[in-house]
Amino acid sequence: MEDNRAENMTESITQSTASASPPKEKSKYRLYQNTVFMFSTAWRVCKSVIFMVFFLAAVTAAKSVTELLAAPTMLQKIETAAPLSELIVVIVVFGMGLFLLAGLEAYVRQNALFGRIAVRQDLISQIGNKTARTSYPNTLSPDFLSFQAKSYKACADNTASAEAFWDSLTQLSANVICFLVWAVLLSRLNPFLMCLIGVVSGAGYVMRRQAYGWGWKHREEEAACHKRMDYICRMSTRRPYAKDIRIFGLRPWLEETWDHGFGEYQKFLVKREKRYLWADLGELALTLVRSGAVFASLIYQIFEEGLSVSQFFLYVTAANSFTLWVTGILDHFSRLHRQSLDLSVIREYLEWPEPFLLEKGKPLVQEAGKAYELRLKNVSFSYPGSGKDTISHMNLVVSPGEKLAVVGLNGAGKTTLVKLLCGFLDPSEGVVLLNGQDIRQYNRRDYYRLFSAVFQDFSVLEASVAENVAQKVDGIDLKRVEESITLAGLEEKAGSLPYGLDTKIGRQVYEEGVELSGGQTQRLMLARALYKQAPVILLDEPTAALDPIAENDIYLKYSQMAEGRTSVFISHRLASTQFCDRILFLEHGQIVEEGTHRQLLERKGRYASLFEIQSRYYRERGEEYG
């Protein structure tokens, strides 16, 4: 069993070196603060977690002590030729003790698990909410994203810091209890010896930590190798990449790239193992010194002070165990320290400042039939670090009920304009006004309710068709779902699905789910926007994946879709915007021309010349036959 412990310990060191944040990095919260944090989280979620830590520690320690005392005690009875009855009593007592303690430990350990999982799940859901609900600009910040990734990792599984914290605490406490018991035991014998063992164990621990710290310090080197290999592996085992790999005969190249990464990794491993081996040897030397000293002192006592053989045996074993307790305490303490760094990251992530007024903002109650006017007043916007305005000094009024089109080349700033209108980004200069009021004062979540949108990037959920359209699980208005689906032109597909509107989309969660094509997904997103019935509807290139007839179909239904609402339609296909009341032509983040299609053509400006380019192929001879 001693052997087992030693093994666990090395394992725990490698594990913790592999997972936690660097010890030197500055973190906002210290170990005691994070302990308080975990205790208060546990107090809220599942109080028993805290008691279980100490109870389990006590039971574990009691069991270890019993196990270690058994053999020497019996030996003593035999050595002193005590009456048989005494021997039997000793065996029965130890046997019963072990029977009860072993069972109790297993039982408590099993039951301690679930509370700990619940606490971790609570943290995960807090992290998830932060991720999904934080102000949009945060999601563009590399710092935020790096804290986000670390936070998820710190809750990833049972061995991640958010749960393993409790285990470290338990083991630390158990080791401390055992240490105290042994300290009393050994100090009766020879306090010097005890100090010696303590010092030597501590030195061994420091040495080992140094060595394992090397792996920690060079973890980025290791991660870089893995990153390359993992990427190649991911890409070679995914469906979308299979065609290109086969047609272009990419296998040798990918294998070579992988092998290269693997070679680098093996070089890294050799370097690492050399370090570890030196540390192991150093520790071995210290162990020999310690054992030698223990033997020398004990044998001296036997010859000179009449120590009994059973005591000799007890102390030899005790000296070994004492080493284990000392290293155990140091190990678990440093584990706890590293886990605390992870916990600090989680807390900092959860407390990340919000640039938008969310719940703290003024509530914005949507009123049926109320007209909403959007206005951009001298708005400029540049993405952090780009140094260039994506939108520059733009003035724009979107009147209630207007059908507005925004066209322009790639990179003209169309999508950024939409993000500003919807309140995903706040202007670097100028203001966005809703009915004359700066939108920044409102609860941003209320503001989002004014919009239904189809963006170029969308989030289809692994849920039923109806849930995807209604965007909720309970209280779905099925009639409205059907209407939206029909208007979006998806009714034929919906009718052919095995379970109708209850058919699940995607196969990551549901084995019987269906996969929609690009065009179908786009229509589904459109249906979703229609279901929401918000006062403003925004469509960013909603027909990119559709064939000409389907595309035309959407154009024809557009006025019906946008009926009674303000609508903004974005496209780089100029022809698609003729049914709008007003067209904005964007270039370099500015509105260079605006007006109806006809007006813009008559101006013979940029719009007209682009239109000319696009329609050239359609006219030439097409016209003659048309």
Binding site: M1, D3, A71, L75, I78, L87, G95, L98, L100, G103, E105, A106, Y107, Q110, F114, Q121, S125, G128, N129, R133, Y136, K227, M235, T237, Y241, A242, D244, R246, F248, E255, W258, F262, Y265, E273, D280, L281, L284, L288, S291, I299, F303, V309, S310, N410, G411, F455, D457, S459, A463, Q471, K472, V509, A544, D547, I613, Y618, R619, G622, Y625, G626
Partner: protein
């Protein structure tokens, strides 16, 4: 896994594990050697110290010769030192080998995926199976990884049992001296057998209890598989940047994600497994450990009784207790190992099902001679095609012939079979009926690789790999830089030098290299076209080549398509019918059939045709403009 419920027979489990070891052996034989040596040292070292300490104790309890004691202590230090040293060295090698093997694990699956026919790669079944394997591995390490752990456990257990037997066996033969009348029965062989049998029985009972307890977990894992899949998805889906806007605008986290997670959480404090843990599962687990304690007590009792009766000295007491405790730990490990082997067997079944997918595509042996004049002619003869496992013809009696150097356009609605047509042409799939001929010979008769080399394709959902630009274009480590540059420019990526700070060595994307360049959709498409050009194959296929491009870029590409294709035979698929006008032949697909073929002028003249409809849908807006 639905099949996990039936328990696998031990024989089958052993066979499965054997096969897994075979697979690993091929990847990394050093792993087995290092594990064996290191496990041996790990298992032997406690016995050595037990034995040596027992000798010291004996010497101290017996003759008490200081010289002899000193010798023994020095020997102890030397021997344990050597064994620990060897153990450390082997452990280092083992860690090196294990970490390497963990990487090689991926290679096993990559190799399989590379060698699979596209048909299997494209099938949902294959993909599901692989995801299942990945998930098993991630969730519990069960599958191939586990077999390495098993090997180590079994070897260690084996050495432990052997060592324990060696050190403990003399206990059974040591006789209680004559004269201790009450204890002579301890000498009787039956006594030994009863004891051994009892101990074995206890070991088995303990393992069985543990199994019973674990059974609750396994069954629960099975019951909550859906919940786990759901959690796997919904816990992490909101990290996806592409979802960020929709998440907020449609309140997906609040209205769907949280609702689902809460409803299907397998680990709430009131869940079944928590009740099991408080009740039967906890009891079985506790029982398993408690029964082991009985075993310990029985060993104490037997060893001490015999010693008390005078069969051997105190040194042997320590030796026998230590050895038999270790021996039974070994037995327990062995039993656990076998039961783990059985439960792992079910997971290996998935792995083998995947590794055993066999390729069915006919592999011809004809070589396609490399013709400088690119005189290749393709003909579709009455080709029909159904995707495997489906009933419906995606292509239906397609006849088509396209001569060398021609430009072919394929148009039609979404789902009319255009992309499938391309897949058949490149032989990603084989036809269900009919045949495709290359220079008059069925394409299946050519060597697959040779045939595939005739095609350069830019798929609609083309994928670029995150590597240096030059390598990505050439698809290999070595490439001709000037050609790569030339292709980039021909593909219309004129300002590539500005975008790619480090020239052809610039990494695409940031997946592997932080300084990589995140190219836009349009740029990616141009790079994909450059890649197709670099391959310089006789057939050039472009599936929606301009979907991600804006009007100006689109016009540019169209203007140059003719130049780009040069003397190659080119096939275009497009929703922008304007791009088809300059093609020699336009084939209109509708519901899997070719409904019209001809030049633009011919087709537009057919007032009733599908082509006319498609054309009008787009052209009307531009014509109105003409009027305006």
């Amino acid at each position: 896994m639905d099949k996990a419920k039936e328990k696998m027979s031990l024989v089958k489990a052993i066979r499965y594990n054997g096969r897994a070891w075979g697979i690993w052996w091929k990847q990394c034989p050093g792993l087995f050697v290092s594990i064996t040596l290191s496990s041996f040292m790990t298992a032997v070292s406690p016995y050595v110290s037990i034995w040596m300490i027992a000798r010291i104790v004996d010497e101290l309890a017996g003759s008490r010769q200081p010289q002899a004691v000193l010798r023994l202590v020095l020997a102890f230090l030397f021997v344990t030192g050597m064994i620990t040293f060897a153990g450390n060295v082997f452990a280092c090698v083992k860690r090196y080998e294990t970490d390497s093997a963990n990487c090689r694990y991926d290679r096993i699956f990559m190799d399989k995926m590379f060698s699979l026919d596209y048909e299997h790669m494209d099938s949902q079944g294959t993909y599901d199976l692989y995801s299942q394997i990945v998930q098993n591995d991630k969730w519990s390490g069960l599958g191939l990884h586990e077999t390495i752990v098993l090997f180590e456990n079994l070897i260690t257990a084996g050495v432990r049992i052997l060592g324990g037997m060696v050190l403990a066996c003399s206990m059974f033969f040591a006789k209680v001296p004559e004269g201790r009348n009450g204890f002579l029965w301890l000498n009787h062989p039956l006594c030994v057998w009863i004891l051994l049998l009892g101990l074995l029985l206890i070991s088995v009972c303990s393992a069985a209890c543990g199994d019973k307890g674990q059974g609750y977990w396994i069954r629960y894992a099975d019951e909550t598989r859906f919940g786990n899949r759901l959690a796997e998805y919904y816990v992490f889906f909101n990290k996806d940047k592409k979802r960020a806007m929709d998440l907020r605008m449609y309140e997906q986290q609040e209205n769907i994600c949280s609702v689902y997670l809460e409803r299907e959480n397998p680990f709430t404090l009131s869940s079944k497994i928590v009740r099991y843990a408080k009740g039967p599962m906890g009891a079985w687990m506790a029982g398993s450990k408690s029964i082991s304690a009985i075993l310990t007590a029985a060993v104490y009792w037997f060893v001490c009784l015999k010693a008390w009766a005078g069969a051997y000295g105190p040194g042997f007491v320590t030796q026998y207790i230590g050895a038999s405790m270790n021996l039974f730990l070994g037995v327990a490990d062995l039993i656990n190992g076998f039961s783990l082997m059985i439960s792992n067997g079910n997971f290996l079944e998935d792995v083998y099902e995947f590794l055993d997918i066999s390729n069915t595509m006919y592999q011809g042996s004809l070589t396609t001679e490399k013709r400088m004049d690119r005189q290749y002619e393709i003909e579709f003869q009455d080709v029909s095609f159904r995707y495997p496992g489906t009933e419906k013809d995606v292509l239906c009696h397609v006849n088509m012939k396209f001569p060398v150097g021609s430009r072919l356009a394929v148009v039609g609605l979404n789902g009319s079979g255009k992309t499938t047509f391309i897949k058949l042409l490149c032989r990603l799939y084989d036809v269900t009926e009919g045949q495709i001929l290359l220079n008059g010979i069925d394409i299946r008769k050519y060597r697959y690789e040779d045939y595939r080399n005739l095609f350069s394709v830019v798929f609609q959902d083309f994928q670029l790999f995150a590597g240096p630009l030059g390598e990505t274009i050439a698809g290999s480590k070595g490439y001709e830089a000037f050609r790569a540059e030339d292709c980039l420019e021909k593909a219309g990526f004129v300002n590539w030098r500005e975008v790619m700070g480090n020239g052809l060595h610039t990494f695409l994307y940031q997946d592997v290299e932080e300084k990589g360049v995140e190219v836009s959709g349009g740029e990616a498409q141009k790079i994909a076209i450059a890649r197709a050009l670099y391959k310089d194959a006789p057939f050039m296929i472009l599936d929606e080549p301009t979907a991600a491009l804006d009007p100006v870029a689109e016009t540019e590409i169209y203007g140059r398509l003719n130049d780009i294709a040069g003397d190659r035979t080119a096939v275009y698929i497009s929703h922008r019918l304007s791009s088809c006008k300059f093609c020699d032949i336009i084939a209109v697909f509708h519901e899997g059939k070719v409904v019209q073929t001809g030049s633009h002028e011919e087709l537009i003249a057919d007032g009733e045709g599908m082509y006319q409809k498609l054309w009008n849908a787009q052209a009307q807006y531009y014509r109105q403009a003409e009027v305006g």
